[in-house]
Amino acid sequence: MVDSAEPVVQTAGLCKTFKDFWRRPRVHAVKDLDLTIRPGEVFGLLGPNGSGKSTTIKMLLGLLYPSKGRIAVFGKPPTDVAVKARIGFLPEESYLYRFLVAHETLDFYGRLFRIPGKIRRERIDRLLDMVGLRHEAKRPIGEYSKGMARRIGLAQALINDPEFLILDEPTAGLDPMGVRQIKDLIRKLGDMGKTILLSSHMLADVEDVCDRVTVLYGGQQMAAGDLETLLARQDKTLITTDSLSEETIDQVRRLIRRLEDKDIGVSYPRNRLEDFFLTIVRDAEAADVHTSGARGGGELPAFLAKPAETGAKALLDSLISAAERPAPEPILVETPAGPTDDEAARTVVDRLAREADGPRETDQVAETAQETIIPAETLGSREVEADRGVIDSLLGDADKPEDGA
């Protein structure tokens, strides 16, 4: 059982040196790495190629032994079999048996966890549904595309309903549908109180899902901390709203110039290619177009969707710790932001707009929304009430003809 006081992973002065044929030290892959991963958090391990991410993960899994330093996973050495029963691992490549079919593969890994036959079969079916490969379950893995094999790799990582999930480049080789699914899955598992270690080159993916990150370079830790803190930017303000008329924009510009003596930039965002692509794929699936490839995945299997018995306390702890964390800024601030920030900002603006204008058809708004991005220099740090005041004044001003107009 996870103890809130006990980190899932803790390393101290961790070093790994690779040697040459004559046992001379050649590459210092990891140097003095102090890492702590707390229960229930989604932790990102970032770094360029050769920065020591995979080596660190392999040491956490007991596949490599540290040259120096200590590792504890769930408070025990990583080679402890009991520890491994609580871990799910998706390696950077699909190291699966090419001659086994998908069903046999999952069955084999399920047996390694001593999962009883009936439960194992149920889980396999659910996982195959989840990764969208139920209809290809009887094909040997060797015939799969890289992305399909990756999906099976993900399924095997979840077969034991792990408390700690290690994902090494989980989105590599996946189509946008798979990438979206993996990110959704990580979010959901994170919400369920699972601890997740994510190593990825896809910075946008990491940014979307991680609570905390560590950036490695040359085997050393260069930066670490909460993503919110690390990425916080105080010099820009982003305001997002439904499409505005040129006249309104002009008024806003004048208002801000008058109040803050600052200029604004206005842009009209496009739909994201990811959304466009997913729409096409979903339409094809709905039309039942034949494919030998992966299909859109299903929902999170029930056995994963409910907190594990042993993880109940962990979930509780994670909820408590989440409650103790500082609340995110409730207003449309902080640039530059990825989709998450955009969505959060939009939500706040919508809410504020609804309060001002009355109820709207949310779906319709979402489809037709145009975003107006208003950079500013100082608005980001204001209190909610102050921001509400600005919006109110904006709306109020827009309703009234400007002096001299």
Partner: protein
């Protein structure tokens, strides 16, 4: 299910999907199902069955041994293809992984061997059914000397140690050894013993020898028979190369049945004489008297003085049925299986530390050494006979270097290398099993019993000591191995 069994199951599944397994299965199939139609032996039914059994079982054993060594690549493949990186992140202790791999190979071998054994058994029935015997003796020979499991007993020779010692004391009293220098008492007794043995094994014309067998635990009920198998050399050949003799079974004093067999046998071959089992006494002893009935006594034959010699290397033996052909075949397969289990363990052991081609070659070397252990040891003994010690040889190398004597250097170097080889193999032979000793095929083909004691001996030596030893080493090597280690 224990993860170990999951690995074993997966190994079997993997092996059965490898082409090489099917290639070997086809080869075994050719041996078992095609060979009977292409061999005839000595054109007799007995010869055909014996040849089939000999080639069928030996061929199957060799092919499965080679396949076992090749199949050890299942572990090295996992290291190379990196499936191991995923596997060892599961709650699977490393020793269980190695054990699972070995179990998988063992199950595979058991399946193949059982299939081959059953096929061989059925093919023997098919041969008997389709090939007619050349005569009644052929049919009898097949039934009583091949399709049976016979226990073999060697006779108990007289105590030559005592007789030689008595002779020595007698000669000593007579003063025969007064001027013989430094020869020891033991040496004199040894010479006398060898002389007495040679005399005993030589039967002069009209001479007699008595062979006594103990522990003849055969079924003595009416109808059951025993067999005496012998081989003789002869000093003077008769023109027809036939020698005539009389074998008397039983002991009147012990109240057994008396049975006389008059034989006219070709010299220089093994012969079997059947006799009633009731000639064996209640105390499970059997007395057999041999009479060298000289051809001079037979009217119409050329007079030759046949001196018969019973060779120690081809000893007279008594045989009697103790089991069935089928049971015997099962025991043969068990011993062959134990050898395959050892090979699987050794191959896996090498695979845990060496890359596949090197591990494979090393395993073949072990297989060859285990098979020819006896001959290698004999030749090494011969090669190092009367040679200097290793230290002497090294000293010669050193001194020849100082003296710049090239010829001496190479001779001394060769000598020291021989010492190294002898030392290495002399040490390793304790580790290698003696596949030559545990070769039950010839015994089986000659209709002899592959005894349970022999099987248990194989279980102890091949199974418990050598196989478990190799497996233990494999687990030890693999336990500390960094499977994700890279050398830069």
């Amino acid at each position: 299910m224990n993860p170990c069994w999951a690995v074993a199951r997966q190994t079997v599944a993997e092996s059965l999907r490898m082409r090489i397994a099917w290639v070997f299965l086809v080869l075994i199939g050719l041996i078992v199902f095609v060979l009977p139609f292409s061999i005839t032996g000595d054109s007799s039914l007995t010869g055909a069955v014996q040849s089939f059994l000999q080639y069928g079982l030996s061929g199957t054993a060799i092919l499965l041994s080679v396949l076992t060594i090749f199949m050890s690549r299942t572990l090295s493949e996992e290291l190379v293809q990196k499936q191991i990186l995923l596997l060892l992140t599961k709650p699977l202790p490393r020793w269980q992984f190695v054990l699972g791999k070995w179990l998988g190979l063992t199950i595979l071998n058991a399946m193949f061997l059982a299939g081959a054994g059953l096929s061989i058994f059925l093919m023997v029935l098919y041969i008997i059914w389709t090939v007619p015997p050349i005569n009644a003796a052929d049919e009898q020979s097949l039934a009583s000397e091949v399709l049976v499991a016979r226990h073999s007993i060697r006779f108990t020779p007289p105590d030559f140690d005592k007789t030689a010692e008595r002779e020595y004391e007698r000669r000593l009293e007579e003063g025969a050894y007064r001027d013989v220098g430094e020869l020891s008492r033991e040496r004199f007794i040894q010479i006398l013993k060898a002389k007495q043995q040679a005399q005993w094994r030589t039967v002069t014309p009209l001479g007699r020898r008595t062979f006594r067998f103990h522990n003849v635990l055969c079924d003595r009920s009416p109808g059951h028979r025993i067999q005496l198998r012998y081989y003789t050399e002869i000093a003077n050949y008769a023109p027809d190369e036939i020698f005539r003799s009389i074998w008397d079974f039983g002991n009147r004093a012990q109240g057994t049945l008396l049975y006389r067999a008059e034989t006219h046998h070709v010299v220089g071959r093994f012969h079997t004489i059947p006799a009633p089992a009731r000639t064996v006494a209640d105390d499970h002893t059997l007395t057999v008297n041999f009479y060298n009935q000289d051809s001079r006594l037979v009217p119409g034959h050329v007079r030759t003085a046949n001196v018969i010699q019973f060779l120690e290397s081809r000893e007279v033996e008594l045989l009697f049925v103790v089991g069935t052909f089928g049971g015997n075949l099962v025991r043969v397969l068990v011993i062959l299986m134990l050898k395959l289990m050892f090979l699987a363990a050794v191959s896996l052991m090498f695979t845990t530390v060496l890359s596949f081609p090197v591990a494979c070659m090393t395993s073949f070397a072990v297989y060859a050494c285990a098979g020819g252990r006896k001959y290698i040891l004999e030749s090494l003994d011969f090669a190092t006979d009367d040679r200097s010690t290793f230290i002497d040889a090294v000293r010669h190398v050193g001194s020849s270097l100082i003296d710049l004597d090239t010829q001496t250097f190479f001779t001394a170097l060769q000598e020291s290398m021989m010492h190294v080889i002898v030392f290495v193999f002399g040490t390793l032979h304790y580790v290698f099993p003696d596949f030559g000793y545990f070769d039950p095929v010839e015994t089986f083909v000659s209709g002899r019993n592959v005894s349970l004691v022999w099987v248990l001996e194989a279980v102890r030596d091949l199974g418990l000591v050598q196989t478990l030893g190799a497996l233990g080493l494999a687990m030890l090597f693999f336990h500390r191995r960094e499977v994700a280690e890279i050398s830069v």
